[in-house]
Amino acid sequence: MDLFTVADFYINRLVNSQARAGSTSLVEQNRIKALILDKDTTSTISMCATQSELLNHEIYLVDTIENDNRDVMRHLRCLVYVKPTEETIQALIRELENPRYGDYHIFFNNTVTKSQLERLAEADSMECVSKVEEIFQDYFILNEDLFSFDLPPENLFTNSLLWDEVGLTDCTKSLTSLLLSLKLKPEIRFDAPSRLCGKLAKEISYEINQNERSLFDFPPMDSPPVLVLLDRKTDPLTPLLQPWTYQSMINEYIGVKRNMVDLSKVPDIDKDLQKVTLSPRQDSFFKDTMYLNFGELGDKIKQYVDNYKDKTNTNSQINSIEDIKNFIEKYPEFRKLSGSVAKHMAIVGELDRQLQMRDVWEVSEVEQNLSVHKDDPEDFRDLVKILESPKIDKYYKLKLACIYALRQGNNNSQLNEIVQILQKQPLFPVDDINLFHKFRRIFGQNQAVDEGQGRYWERDDLLSELTKRFNSKVRNADSGNVFMQHIPKISKLLTDFSKNKVPKEQFKTLEETETSRNANASPPSQDLIVFVVGGVTFEEARFVHEFNETMRGKMRVILGGTSVISTHEYMESIRQTNNSGI
């Protein structure tokens, strides 16, 4: 279950596409190919293939179907790879009515409807289409075990309990394509208190049952794979905390969309580095460092520089990122030598700058303490100190207040005190105070309702041998790290799945399948897809990655979400949540 392997398979089908035997038209003799994409598949391809891979397959032209200014080149063979949206079908119809190229092979990244196919067939009166194929990659691959639909939470839900209709359809389609690409016909378990997850579970299950004979015709497994649907609301704490691993920090402080990092706002940035791509696929330094925390990352970069120093016998003291930056300026040839390290240097430098500028170290320590301790008066004093500090950004104050409300939801007098402090801060927006109250309404009420299920997540006493072993392994890596004390709930969920101890009341199945009836007798699931409705974090992706490493040979987990969110995006999604239905 390596997503990159799946992507390779599909890209190979695409670039090596041959028309069926027998159709030896003139165009078959043309070998030079054009690849025509849409705005979605452009990302799909660029996240998984390099230009030279395409060139190796005689693809000398890449363009988009939306571009109407393409020239007529009748001697090119055209590979079309698009998502079957209404928009692209329209564009494709226009294309086929006036074909620019001699021959078309059309690939869709998901199922096309009969009527879409009919309309295309009608448009193809010149009979220039010689192949139509559905492949299934209607999702974006970020890591070998992480995928995203890139559907921002604002457009997905009518309110925190109800799907937007289009959002639900999009999400169902993409998730179905993921299952098909991995050839999984899973048992579905969903976060029982979540209406969003319940609805999605029904839709997916309907999709599977509808196509049981045609698409989901996979050999039965002795241990069937499981699709776990998780609601972001179940673990609101994780996306609120400042992250500390490389991949998640980039997303938090600079922003990464479909592997593109925009560094143009970084002061004094090199011209070549304004827009860079980051993929564990094509960048070995990133693959080695993406899960490291900021301290380890600094060490890794220092190693690189030290290596260079040894080679060149240069003497400079290097103790900080600032030193490293100066070093690079002094020795421009290091840049050439180290390849992608220059890019990472720019990124790390920017992260360091932002951490200093925003006093993140201070904020994060309080955040972490609040999230792991309960009712600690010292934590509260630290919190008040930060809230009153004039140099801390109001965003962090609001976020800290929310974290406190999540953890100490019942302590009304202290919560009121927090509101009073916030109101006293100069220029603190009324809107943010309202957001704080809204936050309390959403999560306060939820917690009261879920008291019973909520306890599932708190049962630390049941942590078994394996959980302890697993968690201690993770903790050891950051031993004594005050900034990474919090452990996302997904960690407990995975360990419980690995022991087959996830209660059915907490994660329901839609129907009583044989396996769920004899849950006791059956061993734990071997393949898990965990999908977070409302957005997943890179921090959770790191846990999944570490879990996979620990369980190698026994269990495999793939994590995904409607999108990958930063703390800002999560706070914003709560701000946008419609008040009705809360």
Binding site: F9, L120, K131, S464, E465, K501
Partner: protein, 516 residues
Amino acid sequence: MDKEGGGNSSGGRQQSGKVTNISCPVCGESIEGLTKLNNHLDIDHGFDNGSPEVQKRNSKNPKTSKVQQIVKNHWQRPDSYGRAVCQECGSSSKKSNAFINCRKCGLIYCNLHCKNIIKLNTDAQYDPLHGKWYACCYRCFSERPGYNDYGSFVDKTSSFIGLRETKNEDKRLRLLQLENRLVRLVNGIASIHAKCKSSILMSFTMRNEASELERTVTPWRNDRGVLDCSVCFKPFGLTLWKHHCRLCGNIVCNRDETGCSSEISLQHLVNAAKDLPYQQKVSDLAEIDHSIRLCYKCIRSLYGERKFKKDLQKPKPQLLSLCESLESTSKLITDTISHMEKFMIRMDDSKIAEQIPKEEDMTESKKMRTKLLRSVAMYNSLARQVSRITPANPTEAKIKRSVQVASSTFINEKILSLKRVPGMIDDSPRTSSPIREPDKVKSTDLLFNNLTISEVKKYREELMVLKEQKFLVESMIEEAKKQRKFDEVATLSTNLNELSEQIATTQGNLGEQGFT
């Protein structure tokens, strides 16, 4: 892990000896020894595979318990010294509790390397639906059908073509009707023309008779009640007049901007669809000066596909054919290189064995080298030709850039790494080295005998390369003659001839600039 318990060679129950901790494959709990694990599996997880306890309970009915027993006769046995060796890590021991047979393949593994589980039937075959859980090795675990599968796809070509057939049937009928009408119009007009060719009133009678003919061939749509153009839907009025299409009879406007209809001369109509069965020769129709009004839709259905097919018959743009040749050459080079590499490894081996290289190997080596040199020179010259092309449109410009990236990558990765091949790369910076990255032509270059300065330079370089090769081949021929290898002399001579031809062409290209 041993759920069958006693009586077998490796998984026998330990009455004595050190008991090791084993983690349960189901819940991961750590358990002291196999016996306790068996009990744990039976009681806590409801495993019931005819373990000894169960057999004892069922002892009154030994037949059923026998049926439940999984086969063991394929199990690997410890060697003659009673030692068992793990298939995976190679660790060995005589202690029977340190080893397990994979219940599926039967091979021996240590406790660490037989930690997976699988559902098997009593024949030890994988049975996902009705089997029971047994311990197995990772190989058997990962080889279960569907476990490492991925990549569904659905070929929709047949259903697409099926749909297209039905949709196109109507269109084809309509097209046939239009073609039929066109032929009748052309034939009719030709005979009217023939009739009144000699008349003084020729143009007048012709117009009258032709317009009568047009209305018999195509029933015109009644224009009353038709308010707007059937193509652009703009309402007719004082400035926008109604016109009838002579093929479909629909009412259209004649705006230039939209091209809803146009008057097209008979000659053009016939020329663009020469394949239709006219009574007269197409060339005879040329002299008739008559135009017919057609609507946009009819023009499209009559001529769109014809134009598309005709375009496909046209010769490929030079850029594309060069791209294809480059590709073929690069494949040839890659193949030759891999051949040569294999060959050289063999030669190295024989050198180590202090064998005298065989003569045929020597000549084979030379042959390959010549082939490689020639294809590299070819690649280089093709790459240069590409860089000389002026793109016809922005798309060609893009393709050209891609090809240049591809060819310089190829040169850097494949050819420049060929330093081991003797004669491949000249270490001296002479221009005659066959491998150089293609230069770009600057528009500021002065024209020289219809060639730019840099073109002249390039041709000269090419010429030098070719001459150098010619010299090489000539010396090889001498060598072969000395060794009395005449069939080789023959092949080399063909090579030589080709080279000489190429030299002549290049010299021709250079014209008087060739004589330096």
